[in-house]
C-alpha cells in the first residue's frame, strides 16, 4: 500500500478536532441541562414539601405513580404504600363508585378535575375529606397519560359545616312546637272561639298570625336546607305532568298577581310527555321561581312561563319584567342566605334560601339552572331537566 497523503491526514485531524469540540459542547449542554433539571427537581421537592396539600400523579389506569410526603400527615400512609394503588382504593365502596365515575367522565373529555370533594379512609380508619384538583397529562402524540394534581385536607371544615347543619335541623324542629302553639291559639281567637273581637283586635291578630306563618315557612326552608346538605332528603319519583304542577302553582299566585296588576302568559309544549319526577321537589322549584317573579316584579309588569321539550331535556323558563339582578351580584344569586341589594329595600320577606334550595334540587335531578338578567328590565330563569327523569333516592326526610 502506498503512503497516505499528508493533506488527508491533516484533514482527518481537523475533522476529529471538530468532532471533539462538538462532543464537548454537547456534554457541556447536557451538564447545563442537568443542572437546570436538578434545580427544577429541587424546586418541585421544596414546593411539595412546604405545601400542606398532598401532591400526586396517576397514570391512565388511575394508579399512583407519585405521591408527595404529605400523604403521611393527611392519610397516614407512606408514599411508597400507595404507589400502584388508585385513589378509589382509599374510599368506601359507595364513595369509590361515585368518584370513579367522575374521574372516568373527566378523563374521557380530558378535562381538569376541579374542587372535587371526596371522603377517604385513612390508615388508622379515620374519615378524611379531601378537595381534589388535577390536570390531565397528555403526551406529545396527544395520548392521555393520567392526571397530576393536589389534594387539600378539608375534613375539619366539613365537620364544622356538618355540625352547623345538624344544629339548624335540631333548632328548627324545636321551634316548630312553640310556633304551632302560637298558630293554633291565634287561630282560635280569630275564629272568635273566646268571644267577639273588635275589628282592630282582629286586624292586629291577623298580623300575628301572618308573622307566625312566615316564621313557620322560614323554619321549613331551614329544615329543607339542612336535609339537602345532610343528604337525608328522599327522592320519590312518579310519572307526572310538569304542566299540571305549574298550573297548581299559578293558581296559588293568581290573587297576588291580580293585586299587582301583573299580566301572566304561559306557553306549553303540547307534546310534552309525562316524566318521572318527585312532585314535591319539582313543586318547590316552580313555587320559588314563580313566586320570586311575582315578588320582584313591580305593578303592571309581565310574567311568562314556558315549558318545552328540547330533546333530551325539558326546558322551563320563567321570564319577568322585574327589578333584575345587579350585574356584580349575579355570581352570588344561588348562594345560601344571599339577597341582592336592590330587592332587600323593596321586599323584606325573602329568606335568601329559595334559589339555593332550587339549585340543589335541580342539580340533584341531573338538571341545570341558569339565568339572564338586567337591572330594571327583568330576569329569565332557565331550568333544564332530563326527560329521563329523576332517580329514586332513599333518605329519611321529605322536603316540606
Amino acid at each position: 500500500m502506498g503512503d497516505i497523503p499528508k493533506d488527508d491526514v491533516l484533514k482527518q485531524k481537523e475533522r476529529l478536532e471538530k468532532q471533539r469540540t462538538a462532543i464537548l459542547n454537547v456534554l457541556e449542554d447536557i451538564a447545563v441541562e442537568k443542572e437546570k433539571f436538578e434545580k427544577l427537581e429541587k424546586k418541585f421537592e421544596d414546593i411539595a414539601r412546604s405545601s400542606s396539600d398532598f401532591l400526586w400523579e396517576i397514570d391512565d389506569e388511575n394508579k399512583y405513580t407519585y405521591a408527595s410526603g404529605h400523604i403521611k400527615e393527611i392519610l397516614g400512609y407512606e408514599p411508597e404504600e400507595i404507589i400502584g394503588k388508585t385513589p378509589f382504593d382509599l374510599m368506601e365502596a359507595e364513595e369509590a363508585k361515585r368518584i370513579k365515575k367522575i374521574f372516568a367522565l373527566r378523563s374521557k373529555e380530558r378535562k381538569p378535575i376541579i374542587n372535587l370533594k371526596n371522603w377517604n379512609i385513612g390508615k388508622g380508619k379515620q374519615k378524611v375529606c379531601l378537595l381534589t384538583n388535577g390536570i390531565p397529562i397528555v403526551d406529545k402524540h396527544g395520548i392521555f397519560r393520567g392526571y397530576r394534581g393536589a389534594d387539600k385536607n378539608i375534613t375539619e371544615q366539613e365537620q364544622i359545616d356538618q355540625a352547623k347543619t345538624e344544629f339548624v335541623s335540631l333548632a328548627s324542629h324545636q321551634l316548630r312546637t312553640p310556633l304551632t302553639a302560637i298558630s293554633w291559639y291565634t287561630e282560635m281567637v280569630l275564629s272568635e272561639d273566646a268571644g267577639k273581637l273588635t275589628p282592630e283586635q282582629k286586624k292586629y291578630l291577623q298580623e300575628v298570625y301572618k308573622g307566625n306563618k312566615r316564621m313557620i315557612d322560614l323554619v321549613n326552608s331551614l329544615l329543607n336546607v339542612s336535609r339537602l346538605e345532610l343528604g337525608t332528603f328522599m327522592v320519590e319519583p312518579e310519572m307526572a305532568d310538569l304542566r299540571e304542577i305549574a298550573d297548581d302553582m299559578i293558581k296559588e299566585l293568581e290573587h297576588r298577581m291580580k293585586k299587582k296588576n301583573i299580566s301572566f302568559s304561559k306557553k306549553y309544549d303540547n307534546n310534552l310527555p309525562k316524566i318521572k319526577v318527585d312532585v314535591k321537589l319539582i313543586t318547590v322549584v316552580f313555587q320559588n321561581l314563580l313566586s320570586n317573579a311575582v315578588k320582584y316584579t313591580p305593578e303592571k309588569g309581565k310574567i311568562s312561563l314556558s315549558i318545552e321539550k328540547e330533546e333530551p331535556n325539558v326546558l322551563i323558563n320563567v321570564t319577568d319584567t322585574g327589578y333584575g339582578i345587579p350585574k356584580e351580584q349575579q355570581n352570588k344569586i344561588f348562594s345560601k342566605l344571599f339577597r341582592a341589594d336592590n330587592v332587600t329595600q323593596k321586599d323584606t320577606e325573602g329568606t335568601g334560601l329559595g334559589l339555593y334550595i332550587v339549585k340543589s334540587i335541580v342539580d340533584n335531578a341531573g338538571g341545570k339552572i341558569w339565568f339572564e338578567s338586567e337591572e330594571d328590565k327583568g330576569t329569565t330563569f332557565f331550568v333544564q331537566l332530563p326527560l329521563s327523569g329523576m332517580k329514586a333516592k332513599k333518605g329519611t326526610k321529605k322536603l316540606n
Binding site: W184, E187, M188, D193, I216, K397
Partner: protein
Amino acid sequence: MSEKKTILVIEDEIALQSAISDKLKREGYEPVLARTKSDGITALENNRHINMIWLDHYLFGQEDGLDFLNELRHNKNWQDIPIFVVSNTASKDKVNTYLALGIQKYYTKADSQLEQIVRDITNYLNNPNEG
C-alpha cells in the same frame, strides 16, 4: 238523641293539648286526654266508647306513638278505632310506618290549621268510608 262522640287525644305538650281539647269541646266532642303511651292505654281500658284517637309521635316518657300503635293493634277491641296522627316529625320513613300500620291520616302540626284537622275528623266520623 245523639250522645257526644269521644276522642282520645294523646299529646305531650300541655299548651297544644289544651288547645286541641278546647277546640274539640267547642265542636261538640268529648275529649279524653293523655300525655304518655301508658296513659293512653289506660284511657282506652276505662272508656268503652272511644270513637277516634288523635295521636302525636313524640310522647312524654320513653315510648312514642309507634309503641302505642303497636299495643293497640294487638287488642281486638281497639283495632277498628280510626287514628289521625298529628306530629311535627315529618320524617318520611315514620309517616310510611304509620300509614303501613293502618292509620287514617297524617298531619304536620306546624303546617296544619287546628280547625281543618277538626273539620276532617267530623267528616271522617260522619262518612268513614269516604275519608
